[in-house]
Amino acid sequence: MDVKFKILRFDPDKDKKPHWESYQVEMEPTDRVLDGLELIKGRVDGTLGLRRSCAHGVCGSDAMLINGKNLLACKVLVKSLPQPITIEPMRGFNVLRDLIVDMEPFFAKYRAVKPYLIEKDERPEHKERLQSPADREKFEDTTKCILCGACTTSCPSFWANPDYVGPAAIVQAHRFIFDSRDQGKEERVEVLDGRDGVWRCRTVFNCVEACPKGINVTKAIGEVKQALSKGELDPPK
């Protein structure tokens, strides 16, 4: 089948502002949007800039705005979309070129919530830290995050205020805050409880719709809000 694409192009060396360009390529209905972009880049216009890595919905490199929705290009079949398929970079980040955005502010926030297990007690020698299945279940949902940025760049609070720590970083914080083995909860509170922390979330639920891994992001943010408001994350007095 012939598939029409409309892609928002931007080359900072040449363009003052982004502009739309149209392409048409021959594809199988069961091909994915990413295949179409690869075809365009390989056969039609080699200057098209995009990120991709695993191409199987795991690495989170190719999140972009497809027909107005944040999706992973490698997870959407062309037959499921009305044509022309419009492709834009994710909103809220600076565009470096075409579909490539500057993710550094995103990862700065990710690092700010200390997304790693913080241990304070001595580690039991030659033993793993045990955890009950029930305790594991508390953060099961938030382990699925692939850091694609689809949630954060669909969030109106983030568009309005780029200093907002954003849903993705809160999901990462949730994954460790609710881990029974973690002992660094209070170290994350400074970021989460501040002016630009979880309280900027207005429960718009865009993040839940955008997440390609089906994480209930707003629920996770709500759980962090509850834990904070009950004082469960405060440093021990």
Binding site: A108, A160, Y164, G194, R195, D196, W199, R200
Partner: protein
């Protein structure tokens, strides 16, 4: 490339003010649901503009209950609304505009609270006002 402090909260700790504001919004919202619905039914369903007049208000304010009711509604609604406006201002404005908008919200809020409370506390029925017979 800018990296480190692109996450505002690092720069300005808030001592949990945002946390308390969030909890307040939930609790006051629940209370207002009851208070405002009660107000709506009393003023616009069981009564109407045809029989609400000075006498009606004066008779109501004979009882402490209604003064407390109105006082609670005034404080909760005003602070709830002002805080809602503050969060919108925080979301969409920057720098001096934000600072001055928030300041004027505080000043306006405190002024309205003071005037409203003054009326509720000091109201005395006055026959000359065309009121109590």
């Amino acid at each position: 490339m800018t990296t480190a402090n692109n996450y505002g909260s690092r720069q300005r700790p808030t001592q949990g003010i945002e946390r308390y504001a969030w909890v307040f919004m939930r609790l006051s919202g629940l209370a207002l649901l009851i208070l405002a619905l009660g107000h709506l039914f009393i003023m616009h369903v069981f009564n109407s503009v045809h029989n609400i007049d000075y006498n009606f208000v004066a008779a109501r304010y004979e009882r402490l209950f209604w003064r407390v009711y109105d006082m609670a509604m005034l404080w909760l609604a005003l602070i709830h609304g002002m805080n809602g406006l503050r969060t919108i201002v925080d979301d969409y404005t920057r720098g001096a505009v934000r600072v001055w908008t928030v300041r004027s919200l505080y000043i306006g809020g405190i002024f309205l609270l003071a005037v409203g409370s003054w009326v509720i506390i000091c109201f005395k029925p006055v026959a000359a006002a065309g009121g109590m017979h």
